[in-house]
Symmetry: C2
Subunit: 224 residues, 2 copies
Amino acid sequence: MIEKLKAIPLFSGLSEDHLEKIAFVATTLNFDKGGMIFHEGDKGNGFYMVEKGTVKVFKLSFEGKEQILHIYGPGHTFGEVPVFEGKNFPASAMAIEKSVILFLPREKFVSLITSTPGLGMNLLADLSRRLREFTIQIENLSLKEVPARLSAYILTLSKEQKNLKKVTLPISKAQLSNLIGTTPETVSRVLKKMTDSSLIEVQTKTIVIKDMEGLQDLSESGSL
Amino acid sequence: MIEKLKAIPLFSGLSEDHLEKIAFVATTLNFDKGGMIFHEGDKGNGFYMVEKGTVKVFKLSFEGKEQILHIYGPGHTFGEVPVFEGKNFPASAMAIEKSVILFLPREKFVSLITSTPGLGMNLLADLSRRLREFTIQIENLSLKEVPARLSAYILTLSKEQKNLKKVTLPISKAQLSNLIGTTPETVSRVLKKMTDSSLIEVQTKTIVIKDMEGLQDLSESGSL
DNA sequence: GGAATTCCTTGACATGGATCAAGTAATCAA
DNA sequence: TTGATTACTTGATCCATGTCAAGGAATTCC
């Protein structure tokens, strides 16, 4: 367990001693594909870490439309907001494939923060990074059109995966459309246009970037 | 100065001694209406507090369109993200009226956090609250239409101002349209429709809520 | 207090993208 | 492997909201 915790950025710089305390209060949860980890409005009495698998954090509209806020893979933590703010979860979380999740109960963790200076700073950095990401997401949703959002997403993938020219979609196109705030139909049509303009080549879950600069332009301003 | 700091939620629960240390490193800045406090991309070597006036934090698109992320009045802090994350400002900040702003330099503040347990927790709570607000803003932009966003905004104002039935717009309608992600023309038209449906009455900067329940419905689901 | 500026409203029109529907491809399960 | 289920594509249509333009109200500034 301690080895697992060491790999998590949030806990970097902590002593074995502290990690041991954390390991002691953590529990392991298993979820099948589609399993709900928590629902918007639930009382949050702890937070979570992905050990294996993939998780989406999302909101549903009144009519059932979904907006994905984050997709998290191994090593990422989520569900912190109610831990520090006291209220309930502002969004829901679901495993989008068979996943193993660690759970850290709130109270034990809060007392750990005050006694572990580095942990507090790590958390502040982590929440700040998330605020920055939301800032970008709001910019994308409000100031950019779908082709710009989609190419920005492909470029993000290309940076995440070392594989600079050939990227693999980690989620279905339906999920992708909910992440960038559009519909599967529109994703399909825009990918086709991008292919027609020789920016990319698509084969099922693989996208080959043919014109990196063109994609970059499209992600910043342009339309197709 | 210490009296000013006491009024700020972020510093609640801190001893006079700690407040004195903070007051010692804080400086006062004056801005006219339209004065830029910082630009997106600037290196952030500290954060800010509104003492008097109003500030908007916003992003500009390539084409010059604006999306407002926050409007802050007296007592609110802003610009923390780079303090804890190290990089630059993810957005810009401008005084939208003559304002007095306190500036807290980064380095002195960071060392203060490690030596002041309560301050770290206050900051975590503050950033968490902001994450929750962004969550709602993303939901609004992506899952709701303009009439729902506008009525949600009016309801928020009504909660903020004790004045339950009669609210005063704290910003121009042009700014309001940039806050809810639309245009002045659309705001104008939607307010008119809401007036025609007897939900509200508008007179310049004042809105009287005639049908609270109807507004609530509209903010959650409906269209006009 | 009146001119000048800024802000707001209204109308006509254009359009990005949603929705509905039907077919095709990919994946899963037995 | 094959049938069944789920995911994706393509076309036709519709609608909310953006854009452009012009007139009207409110504020600001000498």
